[in-house]
Amino acid sequence: MITEIIINAFLVSFMLVIALFIVNTRKVIFTILLAGTYSLVAALMFVSLDAVDVAFTEASVGAGISTILFLAALSFLPKEEVQESFNKNNIFALSICLLIGGLLIWASYDLPMVGNENNPVHQHLVSDFIEGSKNHIGIPNVVTAILASYRGYDTFGETIVIYTAGLAVFILLYNRTLKETNKSVKNEISKK
């Protein structure tokens, strides 16, 4: 128990440090690199919280596809952030922010406690899933059953991302030019 708390504290402090530097960095590409690392640590955290399927999603979508999409968008953007000037003495905006924030905090007191088993979330469908998933599908892990079968279309996108990543790796590793290089090397040797 205590060791898990220590591991999670380590991971959360890493995430905090990375997030602070994401806010501070001025170059867009460093922000993207740091965001990829952030999502790596987040997925490690999900693994340590036993949410393996969420970690799978974070790996494929958070670290993989979103980094590459950000990069593709970056090629249309300027490389450096432009300094904008804000009016820092805008009392009206500040008061609106404080008001809305206060209202949201006030409303959060009406929410049920996190992790309480009598919450409305846990009454509706979850009992069905817990009792029925083994008979319906035959997968022993309930979370895997929900992600892979009940919400199969949703997870299908992530599966496609992973499949595409695998294909891309093998395309990159497959050496198309090997034969041609060998030929040219042989020609050079024969010329000498």
């Binding site: 440090v17 740091l34 790596l40 997925a43 490690l44 970690a55 990069l71 090629s75 992973i162």
Partner: protein, 87 residues
């Protein structure tokens, strides 16, 4: 117990490389550090599976290893050509 010690050693390594990722002077340093962090996370997920006694979740490590390579190559290609894609 041994796996826990290994996890802590991994977090020390992670911290050392994270310093290089944040402080690194050139972009190539940062890309190299991000790649090494990816490798360490791949190993740490496998070790964590053994530590919890359920090493069936190594599939995530495979996915990470794939995604890490693709991401690094994409960043490098963006630096080389200035854009992704063929044209």
């Amino acid at each position: 117990m041994m796996f826990l010690a290994i996890l802590f050693a991994f977090s020390v390594c992670f911290l050392l490389i994270l310093i290089r990722l944040i402080a690194g002077k050139t972009t190539y340093d940062r890309i190299l550090a991000a790649n090494s962090i990816g490798t360490i996370v791949v190993l740490a997920i496998s070790i964590h599976g053994f530590y919890m006694g359920r090493p069936e979740f190594i599939d995530i490590s495979i996915v990470y290893a794939l995604i890490n390579f693709i991401g690094t190559v994409a960043v490098l290609k963006l630096f080389d050509k200035g854009k992704l894609g063929d044209k």
